[in-house]
Symmetry: C2
Subunit: 335 residues, 2 copies
């Protein structure tokens, strides 16, 4: 059976999003979406001795949370697909010690949640799995000290930076049509795009061309246009990256100005001084599993796109003078 | 269509391994399999300024190599699935800048190659992709200085250690039955197993229980036994881990003593002083894409199992006192 459309788009006939769970940090609770998350941490140590152990516990809590919220027994989950931003994706890997489901470790930076939905959809739609959990997340304090500076150093931040969100989001995908908040109907995997940006603070500018490439290919493959969607969400381009994407994709003949929302840009209020908004593997996972699913439940949304974006660099590649390769994976989600 | 067998095994009706390519380092050339690799490096800097840039070039060379060897045009490849051991899997991510295929970044440590074959098989068999490349690799000098000690320090090694192999292996999976060296017929994803081993030098002991768990589940799901296979390959348990697996799985009623080969244990000669043999994401990718495929080509093998094993730790988790969670993914490969 051919499930391809155009050059890269995939067609899914039976992928149901049964439920989602969004666990956010304290700063995220004070942001624009504080009232839509399922659970918020009072303290980002989460009762653990280190931020890293707290991040791992967030993954377990999000998995347990989505199981409980959807009344799904843990042994109904065939597999978990996911990743995080820590070296060797240890947060999700260590969390998986507590579960008997099989595990696929993924890494496409902040695009990991979209990657997990895309591969999870193939596993469900193809008949390989009945139910899977797709998960990703990040933690400001673990990411900051791994990718940038010691937290205690108090380095001044550039105005083009984004703030790594603390949170974890988990979705259950199912082949049971009776349990659908919404359905994943099409998807497209992105290719690696690198236009030579070397400013590691300006991830939005680096990632916007990847989002442009994937969305343009999706519109071409499917013959659809931005008008067909209630909203088009990018993962975490931030405010500046969002503007750049609108400009870039206009050159390809698509006007996103009325439709585009960015999961990073919408997360915090201006008063929170995150500059361009949120970033991190938590961003799109948090927004999808709370705000977006809620809008499907309430009937506000009939059809959206979620384009998760990721910057595939490491501190070492930047030290060695490399630019920033980026990727975007996109899902079409329908009522 | 249900493609599940038993509790975790997947059935693939049409996944063909078109060709493989194995690129090895200088030490690997001097080992037991030196004469079966497609290409060997004279110098592990590979003409680059850093070991990390050399590792990235190895990935590109392996992709170009398998395309050329199989006479496959680059634009016939829908997607590349793969990973490596560097933080943020930058070797494969940066290599992918040179290609227009979509990219799925994976990480299950040294089990990444088996993970890529398993997910790649789902994409091909399910009709989502026509041709994909599955790839993983590692580099002794980049891994050593990231995971353990500065190379210049000359730290004495424990006798239970393995040697991170330098190399990259790439396979083309295809839905075209006319181009099959062999076929991937069944597969099983592993769950995360952690029996509390904290000795980060003794990865074989940590990983053997994961291999035991996955192989036992596969034999139960399929009703098959070790007698049904020419050989059963584990990823890189090393010599000690191989012995532990034979003992462990005997308790479950399966005798692997005549059938088991370990990709790590077979890579080096005793004179090369690697102690327990090879490890690293290159091990199973190198052995599968040279030794194993050659034995299918020559008619020696009719049916084998490849169980890729991975230790999902990071230096940080060890510093914070954690034990070593492990995983194994297994593929059944038939003539």
């Amino acid at each position: 059976m051919n499930k391809k459309l155009g050059s890269q788009t995939l067609i899914f006939d039976n992928v149901n999003v049964k439920e989602g769970f969004a666990l956010a940090g304290p700063k995220e609770q004070q942001g624009n979406l504080g009232n839509v998350f399922d659970m918020c941490l009072e303290n980002d140590k989460f009762g653990e001795k280190s931020f890293e152990k707290a991040e791992c516990k967030m993954f377990k809590t999000a998995i347990d949370g989505v199981l409980q919220k959807s009344n799904t027994p843990v042994n109904a989950i065939d597999s978990v697909l996911g990743g995080d931003l820590l070296n060797q994706i240890v947060s999700v890997s260590f969390a998986m010690r507590a579960y008997e489901s099989s595990f696929f470790g993924l890494y496409n930076a902040c695009g990991t949640f979209a990657e997990s939905l895309l591969l999870g959809s193939c596993l469900i739609d193809g008949g390989y799995k009945d139910k899977v959990i797709c998960i990703s997340g990040s933690h400001f304090s673990t990411a900051e000290r791994q990718y940038r500076y010691p937290l205690e150093l108090g380095v001044l931040r550039s105005p083009v930076t984004q703030w790594t969100a603390t949170g974890a989001g988990a979705s259950i995908l199912s082949n049971d049509t009776t349990e659908a908040v919404c359905r994943i109907t099409r998807g497209i995997a992105g290719r690696v795009i690198d236009l030579g940006i070397k400013d590691v603070n300006n991830m939005g500018a680096a990632m916007a061309p990847a989002a442009c490439d994937t969305l343009t290919q999706f519109f071409k493959d499917t013959g659809s246009s931005p008008d067909d969607y209630n909203k088009i969400f990018t993962g975490d381009l931030g405010k500046l990256g969002k503007k750049i994407l609108i400009d870039l994709i206009k050159e390809n003949g698509f006007d996103l100005s009325d439709k585009l929302e960015d999961c990073g840009a919408m997360l915090y209020t201006d008063k929170q001084q995150t500059y361009q908004g949120g970033s991190g593997a938590a961003c799109s996972a948090l927004v999808f599993n709370s705000f977006i699913l809620n809008n499907f439940k309430s009937g506000n949304y009939k059809k959206i796109l979620l384009a998760g974006t990721g910057a595939l660099l490491s501190p070492l590649t930047s030290f060695q003078g490399e630019s920033v390769p980026c990727i975007a994976h996109c899902l079409e989600v329908c009522k």
